[in-house]
């Protein structure tokens, strides 16, 4: 304690310092500029003016300025930053560097991604962790190719807010017009890229003009200084606004009484009592406890590392994603993505890579490289491969479906990296545009064992073979032969006969209009359940109305329903009349008999037509099997 200040004064001072910490937030921004735009000088200026540089660091820079500096006898602020010795000796910087400075209001992490060769990779890496971009332009050169390139990369990485610093304004005599022309030109570039917010400021990194304070040389600039812009831009806005996502990192089970799911809230917020669902298992529960870094919480928000305890004993493991039941993530195994290649070995389509998403990991294959993107012009170019630092638009297919969100909606759950399975190098970074093949939506209770699992167990592709035709057309005979043949081929089958169903499941139904519709609905529903169970279901059912058959078809997925028309002319059926029904109908004993006093609507475009006047039941069954094979259905 110094003698002239009482303890009270000192206490108050520390009180202010500590109180500020409580409200001080953090902004991560990436600084982009091409070589010699003054990026290092500007960063040095920010560190220097915010008094985040110590005297010994300044004197080290002073002594180095004499060896490497470009500023004659005065300190080269750029030298406050240089890192690796090799780079310093070559006078270039080639990697992503992180700088820290703070003001009473905010702590800043400046992400500096310089260098020529690795530019795209470094910028993308830096941008992936930034909230905002600070784009630097040399007032003498204006918006150049590199400016467009940087802006394109940051836009691709999801940065929607940009601060444009027009540097070296001292070298254009603080000319207002030069500045406003550049701002206008940049706005046009950014508009094309979907940038939502641009704030511009004319600065001189060298003199400090408009960096921390306006020194009076740009009276025409009424706007805030660079620091004011940095201090006031809203942080982590999109993350907080998005739906709740918790990728499960680790299951905490210290003892049989406690089971918690640990992870960092990727977006949104979670409260106690909230009902949640784990993807992909589909298991639901309620949040019973939330443990934050300092104990129990009522509520947790994006960015917090938490452990949640659920009310029910459901099994959730690392790689799953917990979300609110009202807004679960999408679920798919095939995506259209933008991919940045970061390895010196070129990308090989069809080769499999290990993929790492926010929650899940898997094996990914690039199935289709749609085009490459020229980062300077944004033109689409034909490509067979991607080289280091190239960006492509591709399709990737995973070995299993994963929960995700499109990157435009959620940067944390819509991004991934690709890893070479042999060298273990990080070879690519991607952002999900959208899902190409959506797996079943899991907003409802999906069982872990699903249709696909059962189909795998039976090694066949389940489907419905719907035999329609007049009474006596030969449906039952063909169905019977068909089932025998499929069984002998090792298939799992079931034969659903319309007449038989009327004796059991549908015995409460008569022949009114509603009852007929209900009759067919139930048959179709049973068939659908059996497909779900993994069976090949043969339905033998007159089903005279097109609309009814259409309804049955619509109850299963595409490629699972085949309409087979057993096409036998009425005269032939009536002649065969195995059950004597036509005779009764003709005599008026049976009413509403199909073909006699009730219409039969033949299929317009059946998947298969069988003419029983030309083939035997046995041949017809073979035809159906041949048809199935040609469709890749039925068989595994």
């Amino acid at each position: 304690m110094s003698s002239n200040a009482g303890p009270g004064a000192a206490t108050q001072e520390i009180g202010t310092v500590l109180a500020r910490q409580d409200v001080k937030d953090q902004l991560r921004f990436i600084i982009c500029g091409s070589v010699d735009d003054g990026k290092s000088t500007l960063l040095g200026r920010l560190l220097y003016d915010s008094r985040n540089i110590f005297d010994d660091q300044i004197s080290a820079a002073e002594s180095e300025s004499r060896v490497y500096g470009t500023q004659g006898d005065s300190v080269d602020l750029a030298l406050l930053l240089d890192g690796l010795q090799a780079e310093r000796e070559q006078g270039i910087t080639i990697d992503v560097a992180y700088r820290y400075f703070e003001t009473p209001k905010r702590k800043f992490i400046a992400i500096d991604a310089p260098g020529h060769e690795q530019y795209t990779r470094n910028m993308a890496t830096g941008a992936s962790n930034a909230d905002v971009a600070l784009v630097l332009v040399d007032a003498r050169n204006g918006v150049v190719t590199q400016t467009r390139r940087h802006s394109h990369i940051i836009a691709l990485m999801g940065i929607r807010r940009v601060i444009l610093a027009v540097n070296k304004i001292d070298l254009v005599d603080y000319d207002r017009r030069v500045y406003s022309d550049i701002v206008r030109e940049y706005q046009a570039v950014a508009r094309d890229l979907g940038t939502e917010e641009i704030n511009a400021v004319p600065v001189s990194a060298l003199t400090g003009e408009n960096v921390f304070t306006a020194c009076g040389n740009t009276p025409w600039h009424g706007g805030p200084t660079l620091l004011e812009l940095l201090e006031n831009v809203e942080v982590r806005r999109d993350e907080l606004a998005a739906a709740f996502r918790l990728p499960v990192q680790w299951v905490n089970r210290p003892n049989p009484e406690f089971r918690g799911y640990s992870g960092t809230v990727a977006s949104g917020h979670v409260e106690r009592g909230m009902s949640v669902v784990a993807s992909p298992s589909g298991r639901q529960s309620t949040v019973e406890r939330i443990l934050g870094p300092s104990g129990d919480l009522e509520k947790a928000i994006a960015g917090q590392s938490i452990t949640i305890v659920l009310a029910d004993e459901i099994d959730v493991s690392r790689g799953e994603m917990i979300a609110g039941t009202d807004s679960p993530p999408e679920f798919a195994d095939q995506f259209a993505v933008h991919l940045i290649w970061t390895d010196s070995q070129p990308m090989l389509p069809e080769r499999s890579y290990s993929a790492r998403f926010a929650s899940a990991s898997g094996i990914a294959q690039i199935t289709d490289l749609t085009h490459r993107i020229d980062v300077n012009t944004r033109n689409r170019l034909a490509a067979k491969t991607l080289e280091l630092n190239e960006i492509g638009y591709c399709k990737i297919t995973l070995d299993h479906a994963i929960p995700f969100d499109p990157y435009s909606v959620n940067r944390r759950t819509g991004s991934f990296v690709l890893i070479d399975r042999f060298s273990n190098a990080t070879v690519g970074a991607g952002v999900i545009d959208f899902a190409l093949r959506r797996a079943s939506n899991i907003s409802w209770q999906e069982m872990k064992v699903d249709k696909a699992t059962r189909a795998r167990a039976t090694a066949q592709r389940p489907c419905i073979l719907w035999l329609t035709g007049l009474s006596g057309a030969g449906k039952s005979t063909i169905a019977d032969r068909l089932e025998q043949k499929l069984q002998s081929l090792g298939r799992f089958t079931y034969l659903l006969d319309g007449d038989n169903v009327r004796h059991g499941l549908n015995k409460d139904l008569g022949f009114t209009e509603e009852d007929r519709v209900e009759n067919i609905r139930r048959i179709a529903e049973v068939a659908r359940l059996m497909v779900d169970a993994g069976l090949i279901v043969i339905v033998s059912f007159i089903s005279p109305f097109r609309s009814e058959r259409q309804m049955a078809r619509s109850m299963v997925e595409d490629g699972e329903f085949f309409e087979i028309f057993v096409d036998t002319p009425l005269e032939v059926c009536e002649e065969r009349d195995p059950k004597g029904l036509y005779a009764k109908a003709r005599q008026g004993i049976l009413a509403n008999f199909t073909g006699i006093d009730s219409p039969y609507e033949p299929p317009e475009r059946p998947d298969l037509r069988i003419n029983t006047t030309k083939v035997t039941a046995d041949e017809a069954a073979d035809d159906v099997i041949g048809f199935l094979r040609s469709k890749g259905a039925g068989f595994g």
């Binding site: 304690m1 000192a10 520390i14 310092v17 500590l18 910490q21 409200v23 937030d25 953090q26 110590f54 005297d55 010994d56 660091q57 080290a60 930053l81 890192g83 690796l84 010795q85 090799a86 310093r88 990697d95 992503v96 560097a97 992180y98 820290y100 703070e102 905010r106 702590k107 992490i109 962790n129 907080l240 990192q249 680790w250 210290p254 003892n255 406690f258 640990s262 992870g263 960092t264 917020h269 443990l291 870094p293 919480l297 509520k299 960015g303 917090q304 590392s305 452990t307 290990s354 790492r356 926010a358 944390r412 991004s415 991934f416 990296v417 890893i419 273990n424 190098a425 990080t426 970074a429």
Partner: protein
């Protein structure tokens, strides 16, 4: 709606990194150096796994030249928290009587610290080692990754580090390889102190000002911690009111004159300070870029 201040943000980010390592690696260890950064790291690790226990041991590489107070604090901490604390000494170096005074800072650090660390990692088969290093410590660290990969001989190859996109860390390694993981990468010295204040984290008393026996050597204020520090002719230890800004081997660690006796005093002092913490480490003054050289050889 609760808001996260910058310390909350750093805290959660570090916990995320620590959990990721435990989920992905077979045999992690926390390199515990007894200093303030280790104290914060340990505090965060305990939080990451609460209410469970720490799922990995601590490793202290003892050069045998640490301040006596540090060793006392280390053993107290392990006992208080019920931690598994592995202490490793390079026995070969000890037998050869390697020390900072007889062999100089470079040789001593190489053998008793760098070499000893490699020995311990190999001996126990650790594949991931947490360290408390921060990017703001030295310019060469500004580009250090959170996950720093080391080849089979623990070498760090600056050209061969993996880009770190989002918080999706690539944790794959080949057998025999390892990683050093730095959960405090984004913390500054001031953040560390603010966090210690906020969380009331116990520290070695050497950080706080007290009268201590000091001699001046090569511009550093060296504390006479035991009689291995042979006094040169004319050298006379003087009682000075000092504290330490970083801790290491006592003959290599300079004290600073300070009256700061509490964490709050230190924060006030730091906000007004004009010199970096590395200025008081003898190892750095060798030459420009020396840290980077050390790192390539496997020094932390």
């Amino acid at each position: 709606m609760p808001v996260l201040n910058h310390l909350d943000h750093l805290e959660s980010e570090s916990i995320h990194i620590i959990r990721e390592v435990v989920a992905e690696f077979r045999h992690p260890v926390l390199l515990y150096s007894i200093g303030k950064d280790s104290a914060v790291l340990l505090h965060l690790a305990l939080k990451a796994f609460a209410p469970g226990k720490l799922p990995f041991p601590l490793l202290h590489v003892d050069t045998t030249w640490k301040f006596r107070e540090m060793i006392r604090f280390r053993d107290e901490t392990a006992a208080r928290l019920g931690l598994e604390m592995i202490v490793h000494v390079n026995q070969d170096g000890l037998a050869r009587k390697v020390g900072p005074i007889s062999h100089g800072s470079r040789v001593h650090t190489d053998i008793m610290k760098t070499e000893a660390l490699k020995q311990a990692l190999d001996l126990h088969g650790f594949d991931a080692a947490f360290g408390g290093a921060r990017r703001d410590e030295e310019r060469s660290r500004a580009k250090e990754r959170v996950f720093s990969f080391r080849g089979a001989s623990h070498r760090w190859d600056p050209k061969n580090q993996r880009p770190e996109f989002w918080n999706l860390y690539n944790t794959r390694i080949a057998p025999g390889e390892g990683v050093r993981v730095f959960p405090l990468s984004n913390w500054t010295e001031l953040d560390v102190w603010h966090y210690i204040e906020r969380e009331n984290i116990p520290l070695v008393s050497l950080y706080f000002s007290a009268p201590r026996p000091i001699v001046r050597r090569n511009g550093l204020l060296i504390m006479v911690d035991d009689d291995r520090l042979v006094l040169e002719p004319g050298e006379e230890p003087a009682e000075l009111q000092v504290r330490f800004r970083t801790l290491g081997c006592y003959p290599l660690t300079g004290a600073i004159e300070s009256k700061a006796g509490t964490v709050q005093d230190i924060i006030l002092e730091l906000t007004q300070s004009r010199s970096s913490e590395r200025e008081v480490r003898a190892i750095d003054n060798d030459r420009v870029g020396s840290m980077e050289k050390k790192k390539q050889e496997g020094y932390f």
